[in-house]
Every structure is written in C-alpha cells, then in structure tokens.
Amino acid sequence: MPIVAALARTTLLEAVRNRLLWLTVILVGAAFGFTQFLNQVAIAETREIQAALLAAPLRVAAVFILAVFVITSVVRESSDKVTELLLSLPAPRSHYFFGKLAGFAFVAAILALLCALPLAPFAKPSGLALWTASLLCELLIVTAMSLFCVLSLAQVVPAFAAVAGFYLLSRSMTAMQVIAGASLHDPTLTDRIVAAIVGLIALLLPSLDRMTQTSWLLGGAFSGVLVSVFGQTAIYLVLIGSAALFDLYRKNF
C-alpha cells in the first residue's frame, strides 16, 4: 500500500503548490466580508441572513473548486504521461485509483473545514458540525464522480460538463419528480415515458438536495439526518468508485 499513500501525498502537495488552498482562503475571506456588509444592511434576522448567504455560495464554490481541481489535475497528469508511468509500476491499477481518490479526499476535507470556519460565529455548534460533515460527504461524492468522468472522458470540457450536469440534476431531481408527478391532464404515452425516464435517472442519482442544508445552521430539526447522509455517501462511493475502476481496468493507455 505505500504507493497509495505516496499518490495521496503527491496529490495533496499538488493542491498546495497550485495555491488551491490560498484560493479557498481568499474566497472564504471575501464571502465573510460580504456577510459583514449584510450585517450593516439587514434590519432583522441578521444572523440567519448572514449564515444562509454565506453557507449556500460556499457550498457551491467548494464543489466547483474541487471538481475543477480533480479534472485538471488528472488531465495534466495524463498529458505529461505521468499516468502511464504510474500505471507501469508493479501495483494493480486500483492502487492508482485509490491513491488519487485518497489525495483528493484530503483536499475535500480541508475545503470543507475552511468553508465551515467563517460560519462559526453565526451557526449553532451541533448544526455546524452536521453541515460540515455533510459538506465533506457531498465533496467526496463530487470527487469520486469527477475522477470517474475524467478517467472515462479524458478531456477537461466533457468531464466538467458531465460533473456539472450530475451535480445540478442531483440537487434538482426531487423538484423535477414533483413537477413530473403533477400533470394536470390525463397522462399520454409520451408523458408516461418521460416520467419513467425521470424516475430511472432519479434512481441512479444521490439525494444531494437533502445534504448540507442551510436550515441545519439555523437550528432546524436534523435528527437521523447524519445516518442517511453517511449511508448515501458510502453507497454512492462504492457505486462510482467501482464504475471508475471498471473503466480504468478496461482502458488501454
């Protein structure tokens, strides 16, 4: 397993040398400054407004930064023929995958913690802990999906488009299902086919719309949420991880 640890370490090192963490710190600082501006403007529910308008953009920004980093890192490595060099080492291909995944997971954990930091003055500790854990889970799913897409598609634009589509669909699928189920006229064959396709897609997507809720920061009820968030993350990591490995093992370099 030393190759897994070495790959994880080099991935983390790449994030540091790419100034990814500095970028995140600047982003978090700017977002925090923006909420201080809101503090001057809002006349009621100031704490709630600050928490909500800080948490929601940071969540999306963390996902965006991580997805772009994973995709560009793997594409650059592939272009430099480093991937081929690493795969020529006397270790199974799965070690390469798990090494990269572990490194990106570390980066995801750092991003989640950095994003949680400015929320501390506005949120209840239990809610903030749950929000941070859930953000980490969400980032892990995005990491696995980005790795899967970039290993399969091998190009920045198609891979990022696929990840963005996956993320947007996962966060809006419940709303789409609700709309699809509320047709005001008798469903035609086309309606049924469309509803079946929407249902099938929903089966394959994680419920990201139920993760990392801003309401948790504001004292909303969240009993039992942690189990479902961890459960969904574990299952999805197994699914996407094995799909990525399946593709990686079949790939000719």
């Binding site: 199974p92 799965s94 419940t174 709303a175 299902q177 609700v178 709309i179 189920g181 509320a182 005001l184 929903a202 089966l203 394959l204 994680p206 419920s207 459960g231 969904q232 299952i235 999805y236 197994v238 699914l239 996407i240 991880g241 094995s242 799909a243 490995l245 399946f246 093992y249 079949r250 790939k251 000719n252």
Partner: protein, 238 residues
C-alpha cells in the same frame, strides 16, 4: 484505441459495481415518492430576490416557478386538490410570477381555472379578487381570466353584485379592438339577471349611441336586445 476485454476487470470490481448499483436502486426505491404537500408551500420571496435568482432570465424563472407552484397539494384522485393551500401565500407567489413575466398568462389561467375552482367559498372569493386586481394592471391582455371569474361569481358563488362588478370592469377597462363583444356585454346579461332592466336598457342604448361598436352583427344583436329590454321594461311585472 480499443478497450480491454471485460475479463480483464477483477471480479471483485464487477461484484462491487453490481452491489453498489443494487443498493443505490434499493435505497432510492424504498424512499418515499417526493410530493409537495400544501403545508410545504413557503412564503413567496421578494421580487428583488427572485430577479437576482433569475440571473437575468426572469421569464424563464417565472415559467419554472409556475410549474413548481402548481405541483403543491396536487394529488390526482384521492381528494380535492389545492384545498389545503394557504391562499395568501399562493396569491403572493402568483403575483411575483406575474411581476417576473407580466406577459405570461399561465398564472391567471391557473388562478381562474384551478385555484378559484376549489369548493371553499372564502378561497374562491380571495382568488377572484386577486384576478380582478391583476386584470386592472393589464386589462386588454388579461380580460379572459376576469371573464371566467365573472362566470364563477355568477354561477358558483351566486353573487350577482360581485359578477356585475367584474363584468363592469371588463366593460370599462378592456377597450382593445380584439376584445370580443360578448365579453364587453357580460354586464348587460348580469343586469338582466338582477332584473335591473332599466339600467341594462340605458347601457345598451348608450353603447349604441356612442359608436364604440363597429361590427354590424354586434350592432344588430344589440339593437335587437335593446328592443327586447324595452318591451320587457314596459310589460307589467308578473
């Protein structure tokens, strides 16, 4: 670049893929089917917030919001849809959607054909008043929905004064050439139903004298109507 054979993939990976897929599908199948119940309808955000959220595409956001809004409390079959909705919130949502897309007709269609049809009189009245308020902002485009509201007031609520108020609004404000004569004449028929024959006669006579109507068929119809009204007004009351 051809791919390697599936036999090159370790069996553990294939097993994990199958297992992960099966658990994911089972998990999502076991989860309750999402639906938007009446009590879930949140207060409508401010128009400024919605404009910000539309990223410069207010019409697209309005269309999407309308589809989402109509899903609330809609459950085909088992019970009356929309009855449990908070109508104050609903009106606020419809108003915001109309502000985002003033040319859109869907919110007022939904207001008159869906939300004003619930068998709860107070909610029907509230929705009809909403339609009237919105009609006044753009009468020449929104008159069909107030016409429908007039019909509901007359035939469902049996409130002729309310129907008369709506019909009079159409007569006064919907002045575009493409507004059909029957819509402008609704006031007349309601006055007849209220047995206000003299007022009805004066209105028809005034309309004919004003020269507002140009369609020969319309003028002929109104002239005939005026004669009938004059005959009924002169006849002794039964």
């Amino acid at each position: 670049m051809t791919q390697r054979s599936i036999s090159g993939v370790p069996r553990a990976v294939i097993a994990l893929l199958g297992l992960g897929l099966a658990i994911q599908v089972a998990l999502k199948t076991a989860a309750p089917q999402p639906h938007a119940s009446a009590e879930d309808l949140p207060p409508a955000p401010g128009i400024a917030v919605l404009r910000l959220a539309s990223f410069g595409e207010p019409v697209a956001l309005a269309k999407a919001l309308m589809l989402y809004l109509q899903a609330y409390d809609y459950q085909s079959g088992s019970r009356v849809p929309y009855r449990d909705l908070d109508y104050d919130r609903l009106e606020a949502w419809l108003g915001r959607i109309l502000e985002l897309d003033p040319q859109g007709q869907y919110p007022l269609l939904a207001a008159s054909r869906l939300y004003a049809e619930v068998p709860v009189e107070a909610k029907q009245r509230s929705m009809l008043e909403f339609i009237h308020r919105e009609f006044l902002l753009d009468p020449n485009r929104r008159w069909p929905w107030l016409a429908h509201a007039t019909v509901i007031a007359k035939h469902r609520l049996h409130d002729l004064p309310l129907a008369l108020r709506f019909a009079r609004s159409i007569q006064l404000h919907a002045t575009a050439a493409d507004v059909p004569p029957w819509a402008r004449q609704m006031e007349l028929f309601i006055l007849e139903d209220m047995n206000e024959l003299e007022i009805a006669r004066l209105i028809v006579g005034g309309y004919l004298q004003s020269g507002a109507g140009t369609d020969p068929a319309e003028l002929k119809f109104l002239d005939q109507r005026l004669r009938e009204l004059e005959g009924r007004a002169k006849a002794p009351n039964k």
